[in-house]
Symmetry: C2
Subunit: 360 residues, 2 copies
Amino acid sequence: GTVDKGVDFANYFCTYAFLYHQKEMLSDRVRMDAYYDAIFKNKQHFAGKVVLDVGTGSGILAIWSAQAGARKVYAVEATKMAQHAKALVQANDVQDVVEVIEGSMEEINLPEKVDVIISEWMGYFLLRESMFDSVICARDRWLKPTGVLYPSHARMWMAPVRSGLGDQKMTDFEAAMTDWYNFVVDTENNYGVNMNVLTKSYREEHEKYYLKTSLWNNIHPSQIIGTSAVIKEIDCLTATVDDIRNVTAKFSLPIHVDRSRLSAFAGWFDVQFRGSMENPAENEIELTTAPSIENSTHWGQQVFLVHPPLRVNEGDEVIVDLSMSRSKDNHRLMDVNITYELQLSSGKHLKPTSTKYFIE
Amino acid sequence: GTVDKGVDFANYFCTYAFLYHQKEMLSDRVRMDAYYDAIFKNKQHFAGKVVLDVGTGSGILAIWSAQAGARKVYAVEATKMAQHAKALVQANDVQDVVEVIEGSMEEINLPEKVDVIISEWMGYFLLRESMFDSVICARDRWLKPTGVLYPSHARMWMAPVRSGLGDQKMTDFEAAMTDWYNFVVDTENNYGVNMNVLTKSYREEHEKYYLKTSLWNNIHPSQIIGTSAVIKEIDCLTATVDDIRNVTAKFSLPIHVDRSRLSAFAGWFDVQFRGSMENPAENEIELTTAPSIENSTHWGQQVFLVHPPLRVNEGDEVIVDLSMSRSKDNHRLMDVNITYELQLSSGKHLKPTSTKYFIE
Ligand SMILES: Nc1ncnc2c1ncn2[C@@H]1O[C@H](CSCC[C@H](N)C(=O)O)[C@@H](O)[C@H]1O
Ligand SMILES: Nc1ncnc2c1ncn2[C@@H]1O[C@H](CSCC[C@H](N)C(=O)O)[C@@H](O)[C@H]1O
């Protein structure tokens, strides 16, 4: 469907207009190091070239591209942050190379085609925000046939984890319901209106909020109780919006910890900077948002709670059927259906459970 | 200007579609008691009458109106909450009287004029949300010439207060700036980009957030250090949108506590249910959101911080010049300019300070 631009600004772009939010990204060392290395360890891709930075934000990637020797950098930003990017470009003395364009990628025009498109478009669990659509649009309109994309590849991952988050959320949910029941009694007694007919809807609303909305968390690697699976691979140079609009995957997660508890699935992503087949990077760089002790990112992982948790043992396998699509009301948010079924090491299958989750 | 409906839903109505939020209002005893008493202690205004509930939410006021004997109640609600209101009306057996209409007040049609318009339209500091516009629109289109409004009157108040909130926010602000300075150094050292040109904008963004955005707080009555002033009175039966679009007031706040500190202005409102001149209420009811120990409300008060705080003594007066208008970007939020000047009991005037605040 078509998207109302004003609504998209109110729901999405607005946050990027704050320096506070840009600074959060600029303070993510793992993210910054990856892009910095991708550019400066592959200067041959930038030196003398024309670069397009899709969603330049503060302008950081455009400035680095210029410092790496780009002949020209078009830095496109939809929000008022473009004004700050302009100031930053000037202050760092690359104004002869970097041209900041305030406007949405889909609507602006460039005077020429480009050799490189660089962009930091990744949202939670890779696809939240649906910003890769804008990169695809830019690529199809402005990238030379020989051009390269930074990053060039992306993958989505999922792992079985144990976590206390679910118990916590369950406690919160139950407290909210107890509170509701008291409210129903009080409202009847004090104000003569029986609210009980809304109990079911109240429960649904709160189940969604507490239990079915994925949680942001930086999982400790030791919480992973099985083998992680790649559930989606994207070649940025060829992927279409249709390829990413719906993600479906069937995969198995072998458990490798004994007497454990599967209380959640954790989802994350990584991206690679490999250049293209004809024009490979000299030094391949990877940015991963996998659970890590020292190298966690502002993306963390998305945690999908399993209720009730499953007892699992080494040798068991969790068979998962996942399908993710865009939320009807907001194309930048995701609905995720996960059906999971435990296959015991004995060969016995427990009956499958299906849950609809929301990435909000 | 005109307002994009989708944007208005994304920014404003969306919250009202949650039972969670309706419950918060339905759990506000002071609010509930006032409307309950206003209706049931003035049954003559409802018995046999046609009532319009502007923004019925859960349907509570419509159901009470029916229980008080209304012949017909039109209950208009813009959000999906209308579905829950329908269920509640049915469950409380007033479906023959209450007709829930899902739609915005400005757009729907009624088959007849009404005797009473009831609405709970008040936002923080009365006018935030600008929902009274919808009541005015309903009144001008649908209220009989002899009709009454519930509530009938409203007032805005302001008082000089002492509070530790400002010190807290100042500490937070300073911590944010220290963090920024470190970030600037780190970014230059690690990534070769000098961010210092953005320092001024970062400070402005954070001053707005920490110091110039009014705070929700339930002030303790003992924090009030002077006489409160009424800064605006509204007769709901005659007020026009032009009357409320801009609020300007000049007033004096006599200090009555010695050796104190003026660290904020607190703003709140009250509304009265008096019926109309020709058709007065038998029992006048008032709903006040003034600072209170036992009767605080979910509205609390809006706190506008004074930086730096002023030393004040009994006999001093704070002369205030206030002007409030709608925010350019969102007509439901407010910009408030407050100019204050201390007139010492000695007759000496300190030089005035002007601050632009934001009700977000
Ligand atoms: N279609 C579009 N057109 C222009 N800018 C867009 C866009 N979609 C997203 N953006 C912008 O893209 C930015 C993504 S965040 C990344 C910012 C910056 N490149 C950095 O790496 O630090 C945001 O500032 C957002 O406003
Ligand atoms: N123009 C408009 N048309 C229809 N509903 C509106 C409206 N402006 C606000 N509302 C609705 O008015 C409600 C205000 S909150 C009050 C709800 C209820 N009357 C109660 O007293 O508990 C919200 O549910 C909001 O969605």
